[in-house]
Symmetry: C2
Subunit: 709 residues, 2 copies
């Protein structure tokens, strides 16, 4: 069965059992059953409690074993220590989904018990939601299997939440804000079912048009990334992830036991996936509400119409922040709006129709914008004036909005003033007309909508993995691991580079003078020579490194000098030989790396090299696999990208070379799961056409795939 079909019966069960149903109204076991019954679920409901009797008019079964019919979902509202035996009973009964409300598992350190339960469940064909959750709601079958509020407003937004308290409160909050839900699912400890499983189903569920997630920590992020990339081409996905700050991440860890990864990595990967990240819950809900009803714009041009210059300027700032493109064909704008700017306004977008604008003026300006095929979205701003009062404004906005509702022209309004304006705001909001108190809020919503429009247009690009000589890599790794090493020596790193078709400084390890000369001859002069010995940590200090060796004679001298120096400085050192490599000419230094992230699996890193990478933190991350286009975007993301393009008369650098290296490092990480960390630092980037060269490679490895890195 596909994962999607597997999850379907959680959202569309024909029958549900509540194990731990209670007749005591203050208990969760009562509240949950009551929600199911009173919200009007049409499937069969089986309350289960050893005490028997009836609750809410339903016969109570002493045990799940006593239920006659099939059970799609069993909700467990019982103490932690009785969960396992009940899960066993559910397995015997052939239950398909367990929703384990009970807490007292991994979130308080009781990891083993949780794993035992999940193992049993999975072995017996059951999927597990939770434990440590408030339940789930599915509008499709009017199922409110939560202990939260009874009334949930049905609609098109699906919420997945890792925090129970927040989730319960969100049910109420969304209702207050007129946001309808297609589903809300509490994932809690995510012992089995996680965001990815749920999204897989929700992508294709017709009722769901928007997905909102509250996340504290992620496991198995590589699956999530693939699913999110797919989802955002179809439906907007909004995420709130707490733990942005260091201390916040610690607090999240102590809250759910999930170790939050570095926030920059999360942020970068969400952007890569086309997910919209909100800082605050309020922003997330505002965006959900707007996206749940606004049409997709047919182009990028937006126009600001305002009766106040000041808020016009503020909105312009907000447009830049939220990437809303302001239409800027000045001549066209002048022709279109000249008539309504009272001579002293402005047609330069913001279209300033001035404080003297009447209702009629404002309406004319709006219509002009809405009827112009080259204008694709409209921002309407209003400062309360005596010339046009808020009641007139409210009428005008309402009628215009309704008239153009189906015109594929998204609108947002922000209105500012006293009591009357406040009333207009409340009344318009009640009719779900997108009117905001603050200019930034309004523009943010429109910005997210435009970004979603761009997501929909994003061409599907296939990932094409490159060829990696995995047998060669495996030989190197096996040899290193056989010696008990979890890192590679320099020449081994070089061989890995070769195995993916990348150029390093070449060379190898010479065990004699004649080998050294041979190597130097083969790679070309000048060369660098370095002692190879695990006993000598600071090679330069020990006189074990010599640069600028121009010819055979110098190589011969150097070999002897290095041997002599090292034996004098570190008498007991075991010396394996002397490495001979090409001397790399200076270039622009960048860093290319890859590692296995605890949250997201294999990820790629790129940044400005040298001493600045640590201090300026000018780096970009992407989850693997990445397409060629994603790599180009990644390179352009770093702030120092102009240096690669060439500034102050410096030449454009070989960006194509950098791109190729990123691609190959990505291939390597995907093909060789035992490599946990791979870093080329620096990678010298030469002027365009002259390529790049890896100077130093650092590789960490592990014994087996899946081992902790």
């Amino acid at each position: 069965m596909s994962a999607q079909a597997e999850i379907r019966s959680l959202f569309e069960p024909q029958s549900i059992a509540v194990i731990g149903a209670s007749s005591v109204p203050t208990k969760i076991g009562y509240k949950l059953l009551q929600n199911i019954v009173e919200m009007g679920y049409q499937g069969t409901i089986y309350p289960v409690n050893p005490k028997g009797g009836t609750i809410l008019g339903l016969p109570v079964y002493p045990s799940i074993r006593d239920v006659a019919g099939d059970v799609d979902v069993a909700v467990l509202v019982i103490p932690a220590n009785r969960v396992y035996e009940t899960v066993v009973a559910c397995g015997e009964k052939g239950v398909r989904h367990l929703s384990i409300i009970s807490s007292g598992f991994s979130e308080v350190g009781n990891v083993e018990e949780e794993q035992k339960i999940v193992s049993y469940a999975r072995a017996h064909g059951m999927r597990v939601l939770g434990p440590n959750i408030f339940g789930h709601y599915s509008a499709k079958v009017s199922l409110n299997a939560t202990f939260g509020p009874r009334d949930i407003r049905p609609g098109n937004v699906a919420i997945i939440t890792q925090s129970g308290a927040l989730g319960v409160a969100m049910i109420g909050k969304t209702s207050v804000q007129n946001i309808g839900l297609s589903a809300i699912i509490s994932v809690g400890n995510k012992s089995d079912i996680d965001e990815t499983d749920l999204i897989e189903y929700l992508i294709h569920q017709e009722e769901t048009e928007i997905i909102l997630m509250y996340i504290e920590g992620i496991h198995g992020g590589d699956r999530l990334v693939a699913k999110l990339k797919e989802a955002t081409r179809l439906k907007p996905v909004i995420v709130i992830k707490s733990g942005r700050s260091k201390r916040g991440a610690m607090a999240a860890a102590s809250h759910t036991g999930s170790l939050a990864g570095a926030d920059e990595v999360f942020d970068a990967i969400m952007k890569q996936c086309g997910v919209f990240r909100a800082e605050s819950i309020q922003d997330a809900l505002d965006w959900c509400k707007y996206l749940s009803q606004a049409p997709i714009p047919r182009g990028k041009n937006s126009v600001i119409i305002t009766n106040g210059g000041g808020i016009g300027v503020l909105a312009t700032d907000a447009c830049e922040k939220y990437r809303v493109h302001l239409y800027d064909d000045t001549e066209r704008l002048r022709l279109t709006f000249e008539e309504v700017t009272h001579g002293f306004g402005s047609t330069k977008n913001p279209i300033d129709i001035t404080g003297e604008a009447t209702r009629q003026d404002y309406e004319t300006a709006l219509l002009r914008a809405l009827e112009d095929p080259d204008i694709h979205s409209v921002i309407g701003l209003y400062c309360e004036t005596a010339v046009m009062d808020s009641a007139e404004l409210s009428d005008m906005i309402r009628s215009t909005y309704v008239r153009f509702r189906d015109a594929h022209k998204p609108m947002v309004f922000s209105i500012f003033g006293g009591e009357l304006t406040e009333e207009a705001l409340v009344s318009l909001a009640q009719d779900n007309i997108p009117v905001y108190r603050d200019v930034y809020e309004a523009v943010a919503c429109l910005g997210v909508l435009h970004a979603h429009g761009r997501n929909l247009d994003r061409p599907v690009e296939r990932f094409e993995p490159g060829v990696v000589d995995t047998r060669a890599v495996d030989r190197i790794l096996d040899a290193a691991l056989a010696e008990g090493r979890h890192f590679l020596l320099a020449h081994e790193g070089q061989s890995i580079l070769q195995a993916v078709g990348l150029e390093g400084p070449g060379g190898g390890v010479a065990k004699s003078i004649s080998q050294a000369v041979e190597l130097a001859d083969s790679i070309g002069y000048p060369v660098v020579m370095k002692v190879v010995s695990r006993d000598i940590l600071h090679k330069s200090d020990a006189g074990g490194v010599l640069l600028h060796l121009m010819n055979r004679e110098e190589v011969m001298d150097a070999y002897q000098t290095i041997m002599h120096n090292c034996k004098t400085q570190v008498p007991d050192a075991r010396i394996e030989g002397v490495e001979v490599v090409r001397q790399i000419p200076p270039g622009m230094e960048v860093i290319v790396g890859g590692r296995r992230d605890r949250s997201f699996g294999p990820i790629l890193m790129f940044g400005l090299g040298g001493i600045y990478v640590e201090v300026m933190k000018d780096v970009a991350f992407r989850a693997l696999p990445v397409t060629r286009k994603e790599i180009m975007t990644m390179i352009k993301t770093i702030k120092s990208y102009p240096l690669l393009l060439g500034v102050r008369g410096e030449p454009r650098r070989d960006i194509e070379g950098v791109e190729a290296v990123l691609q190959r490092v990505g291939d390597l990480l995907l093909a060789c799961p035992r490599i946990t960390d791979f870093e080329i630092n620096p990678l010298m980037v030469y002027p365009q056409g002259q390529g790049v060269m890896a100077v130093d490679v650092r590789v960490l490895i592990r014994d087996r795939e899946g081992d902790p890195s």
Copy 2:
């Protein structure tokens, strides 16, 4: 008369004339008079209109000349073309202040007329507010001399606004939000009275506890900076400046004609002054409201109490963003809060009292925090639960808040849930209890309050100007200007460095081989030689620069080579000689600059040097004068500051040397107003104790102080 006393009569006039008073209720001349009369101004009111008669029961004077008594303020509500003659009449009458409502002046390009009016007024002892304004309001004398809403809620916030439409709407908005105003002043074109004049008065006005400004552009920012530094030690100053974005700045320019300076400069200087900058109007109003009633905390320690882990984590993130310090004595926190965390909550701050917390638990936790002398402010968070409903919550918050209102323990609350929570929120907000919908809003308010507390504690540091040999500088500038140059040649720049006691590469211009040798001998080898010629722009390309000259022989050869090269490459070039300077050893490159900013006057700049300054824009700005401490903060502000401290085994750099250079460059700009731009790039910074050295100096000058730069 001090400026402060001068402005007082604008805010506390004994009498006011409305010139252009009208009996037609739709006219501004009626509305304004009506506002004055109906809001209950107790001074004498003189309506003026050639038609005479009575309006609103007051006798109308045909001309201001006909008024018998003194007139402190004359409000002009007449067409632009009649303003000047009326101002003359006011001058003759001895009016003290003109509030010119009329528009049609510099904002539409009519600069001359505006200047004529101001010149006349100032010459006749009158100060001018406006033109192009909606008027002003002063709670102290219940004077509403605006054409905005009649009812203005009196209180302790003073608003200065450059945008009229926004200002009018703010009157209504503040009233809706329960924010009382001590004053609101529309400054419009700022032809005479500007923010600085008003702040000077408001600093000492008892009624005003908070100052809020909406700014689009600034002139005479150096006066403003001094005044803001003074003000923020006493009262919080909040600013909204639009035109953050490039396009926003353009829109602002077309709106008021004021050229906004670079936003980064504005932002940096506001921070220097201790001003709080809000991005959106809503944030600014939230902060105003909170600051207008919250007590100043007695220390930095804050505690988060929450019944939901998720919002606790979000609040922790927000605390980092808004610099709210979370108390972190874990042992102490455990002892204090252990009892209320239900075993599975957390005492680690956020104090998570879990979803099972009752009203009693929450109250206990709050009291523990409020009674602990080491906890100085409290953030209370709530997710709606069945265990503690919103009505209970509302009661509990209200009683606790009232009980500790005078305890110098600021509190903020953020509550999240459905209909009942919404009701609690509205009811608490009506009582001015600081409860917010969003966690970030709540924490932002507390953050601004803590920052204001730090401002109050800021020690007053005296600026001590250094000695500049202004006569030496003047000689150099005079000579350059006499030649018609507005830039200095390299050796002149060197002399300027000497005049402020800074070390440059030394040397000078040789006109012969023997002079070159003499110079080289005096500064020491190695030296660099460069051709001096205004006809040769690309000196290196012309073979006019030679490096690494180690002795007399090489200097002699070099002189001849340079002359030969240049004459061959640029045959007609007039060659003034060859500059001989010390060859500077490499160090860490930084840039130190100063210039006269259009908005803020003399400002200082510091940043990471080399090719990165352009790309990374890692620079800091300060308005002059700066104290030693401000310079240290400035240096620490740049992101690459750790490079100066030394990373990856690099030595700590001579930060004291950098500090001294910044100080001296500041002194120079203050002492020599004809220098418009001064830039040392790069300044080489050597390891601590080894000093710094200016490699290249660029100086631009102007003919006279006050000339456009």
